[in-house]
Symmetry: C2
Subunit: 127 residues, 2 copies
Amino acid sequence: MELIRIYQCLCDATRLRILHLLTQGPLCVCHFQAILGEPQVKVSKHLGYLKRHGLVEARREGNWRVYRLVRRATRELQANLACLQDCAREEPRFRRDLERLRRLRTNGDDPSLACCAKPTPAKAVAR
Amino acid sequence: MELIRIYQCLCDATRLRILHLLTQGPLCVCHFQAILGEPQVKVSKHLGYLKRHGLVEARREGNWRVYRLVRRATRELQANLACLQDCAREEPRFRRDLERLRRLRTNGDDPSLACCAKPTPAKAVAR
DNA sequence: GATAGATATTCCTCCGGGCGCATATGGCTG
DNA sequence: CAGCCATATGCGCCCGGAGGAATATCTATC
């Protein structure tokens, strides 16, 4: 049952936040780290999980990897992501994530492609 | 995060089928057994899980227990159950469950309250 | 109050997944 | 090619949850 796989992906907080962010567009790993405030291993593993389960796909972009929601998402996935977006509107945590994403995009650079390390080579990501 | 709890409940096939059935109205354990074709322990445990996690509530009805979705479901829960119902429309398994439920209700007796053992005391549930 | 029926609970085993540390990989740059 | 950066992977630990067999609990009935 396809649905099960989807729900299994959704039932972890970190993955939920990742997917929620991805509904706003592709993102690279370091951005996830910055926004979620989670260690690299954790982020990377959850992205791997999502990829293995077919919710997400990745491409290389020079030195980093950009993740996005799968292009041809099933109806089920689309429905559930829409539902997630809807529910997320009221959860402070999701709102903060969105806020940070927005800040990264404006303070930083180009919306989707320009990755970290471009604006501030010294300070970089505030860990 | 409330959402997580919901998704944790949704990420098992048996629970998914149970919740889906419950969107059609209250049901007692033996009906679940009959419809799902799963052993009593399994059904009972998953119902317990759903109850512990606040998606479901139960009342005694003489010798048996009738389960229902929680009365005051959160917005998140409502949204996700609606989404589930929508997705379930295309999954054969869910359709079969609904079909069996319908058959139980017509062949059997009264829609919601009348429980098993009333129609056929001899054959009972075809295990 | 003994018994039967419906359901819950306990005990056990097994497995997948979450986490973190350390290390590997793969591309870029000097 | 050496070294750095971003990211992935392997390993070990731990925990929760799934499944099933046996048993307990609660209710109705005689």
